[in-house]
């Protein structure tokens, strides 16, 4: 039988899982509003009318990185004149300043893979932050960073995670997944965690009771089929562990990266389609995030109609995406996020780093 939006809709309504072929058929359709509406109906069933956001501070400890990934505008060599390393003191004072806002409850810590910092340094940072700010929720370290720690410490994934958890880590972000296909990773990010390693870190974290997010970086050299495979890989992991909290799609931003001259940013049409298809394929993940920093607020708000139920946060201090020349503002006030959510006809829900609702408006 030919796959059409009608057959897909029937499957969705009868609670059947979508196949890889369904995913590809969705991609080849341009009936964007219809795809969006299908995703919206699924969103309603899975996560209701709340839209999550959090008041958070991004801390990027350093941009010095041995990764040299081709899609990255943030990482650099230590000799670069944009290289920086935050001292423990300046990390603490940044947090102290952000914590003057009583709503600020979440830290988001991701960084470059520093060539010289020892593993103990990271443990120490986490402990120090926790000691000084015991009430803040600490989300940090992508699967890629964890693998880096594994290499520099000689310890196992499990030991590294146990130690970080003991030091105060409460959740992990979804970055570094890119496309979980080593033929692509080999070209774009050969120096960092492989697909298997990334999955193993997530699996281990889930087993140890830490929830993580998952992401997809799209719009570079990958095919639509590789995107769908990526989603199916995450769906299979989630079937196994149930530990994935939120899925985030990152449209690749070529500006200031090694791919700048060969690739233009994908269209917003693709962004919303990908958002909707992710919601439809990932039937076992609760949250789909429209990361406004990458999409801009107007598009992130529209994405709430295309399957998303999370708009990320106020992202004070975000550096990584802004290095890639995204045109969105550096940070947004909570009220702007609340307004955008309301205007989309939904209920704003302020949450912690584990997507637990703190309060609704």
């Amino acid at each position: 039988m030919d796959i059409t939006l009608d057959t897909i809709e029937d499957k969705i309504h009868s609670g059947q899982r979508l196949s890889k072929e369904d995913g590809l058929a969705l991609y080849s359709s341009n009936d964007l509003a219809r795809i969006g509406q299908l995703a919206d109906s699924v969103r309603k069933k899975i996560s209701g009318d709340y839209v999550y956001y959090n008041v958070n501070l991004h801390v990027n400890l350093t941009n010095i990185c041995i990764g040299q990934c081709k899609f990255c505008a943030f990482g650099c060599k230590s000799s670069s004149d944009k290289a920086y390393e935050l001292t423990k003191q300046s990390v603490l004072s940044r947090i102290a300043k952000a914590a003057e806002d009583p709503d600020m409850k979440n830290l988001h810590i991701v960084s470059g893979l520093h060539p010289d910092w020892p593993y103990e340094y990271y443990l120490d940072i986490i402990k120090t932050i926790k000691a000084n700010f015991p009430l803040l929720h600490l989300k940090g370290f992508t699967g890629v960073e964890i693998m880096h720690f594994v290499k520099i410490s000689g310890k196992s994934i499990e030991t590294v995670l146990r130690e970080l958890i003991a030091a105060g880590l409460e959740a992990m972000p979804g970055g570094g997944a890119e496309i979980l296909d080593d033929s692509i990773r080999q070209i774009l990010c050969p120096n960092k965690a492989t697909s298997t390693e990334w999955l193993e870190v997530a699996r281990t974290a889930h087993r140890l009771g830490i929830t993580t997010n998952a992401s997809m970086l799209y719009g570079h050299i990958e095919t639509k089929e590789q995107r769908i495979n990526h989603l199916l890989t995450l769906r299979a992991l989630q079937d196994e562990t149930g530990g994935l909290q939120t899925f985030i799609c990152f449209p690749f931003q070529p500006k200031n990266t090694a791919l700048e001259d060969s690739i233009t940013r994908t269209s917003v049409w693709d962004d919303l389609k990908t958002m909707a298809i992710s919601r439809l394929m990932l039937d076992n993940i609760h949250n789909i995030k429209a990361y406004w920093v990458m999409l801009t607020l107007p598009v992130a708000m529209l994405a709430l109609g295309f399957g998303a139920n999370d708009i990320d946060g106020t992202v004070g201090g975000e550096k990584i995406m802004h290095a890639a020349g995204v045109s969105s503002q550096k940070a947004l006030s909570k009220n702007i996020l609340i307004d955008a959510i309301r205007e989309a006809g939904r209920i704003p829900a302020e949450c912690d780093c584990n997507s637990k609702i703190i309060r609704t408006f």
Binding site: D31, R34, S267, V268, P298, V299, L302, G305
Partner: protein
Amino acid sequence: MDELTRARQKACAGSRLSFDEALLLYRKASLLELGQWARAAKERHSGKNVYYNINRHINLSNTCTALCPLCAFSAKQGDTRGYILSPEKVAEMISRAMQETPGLTEIHIVSSLCPDTNFSYYTDILHTVRKLLPHVHIQAFTPAEIIYFTKISGLSIKEVLQHLKDAGLSSLPGGGAEILDDSVRQIICPDKASSAEWIETMKTAHSMGIPTNSSILYGHIETTEQRLAHLFKLRAIQDETGGFGAFVSFPFYPQNTKLAELYTIKPLTAWENLKFIALSRLVLDNIDHIKAFWIMLSEEIAQLSLAFGADDLDGTVGEEKIIHAAGAKSGSIMTRKKLNDMIVQAGYIPAERDSLYNIIKQAVPS
């Protein structure tokens, strides 16, 4: 069957909507439902084509007798920002445009109601442009300007239009309509053409074989009912004359306007803009084309509007001062390639058109 179900069915089937039905859909239907119906309506009107036009905008002056509170472009007489282009200057700009823009098919001229001109200045300008570009379409002067010309010349609407036509005018743009409700105009633009005058000008132009566009400026102080009633007024004119080629909605940008100082105006969101594009596609069943003006909406939202019933991205525009004065953030130059890409990515066929929607160049669907 309840009214909402009935309205939904009519929108889906493409039947003519009543005002009450449109209002109900505006309030109750979801954005994506409206989008799907509007896209189907678009395909009934223009199939898989999405149009654009290679044009050049010229704003002759900005000093204005009307000083509408809605306007961020105009300047008071004597203001240092004030300017008026001489026919020589316009000739220079046109020559430059001819070099810079191969395939230029339209010159688009809209300006303030300038206190320092007489009517012959405008016919001179048209002669100048016509001489340099004998075959280009000249779309110029909104009804607000036409009414102003009747005042400074003592001529009737028909006489003014005839003089302009003789001097080379091809069509009128759709601007100056704002909201065709005098209680609203009293606040947002008290000193320019009234609703009746705007309508009279359009009907006269249509009766003389001068095609025009139509528009709305929304998202300021008007109510939802007034916004929708405006669409129904345009639909009624179109039933009578058939002279509107396209409809374009201008979202109001409060920045730098007097109106925003006097009233608290909540800026429109992309959500609202797409919803309104969809709704206008559904209500204006007798107007063939719905423009999503990328300069106003941003390139991103203009592309998305193709899923919500728009079938025209307007043009590659040089030197559009009016909109940027009000703080629209889009860049002011667009390329053919970019427009083609935007359209192809949305699964449609790019169709470069002239001002009357004749196709000049069309990509072959792959």
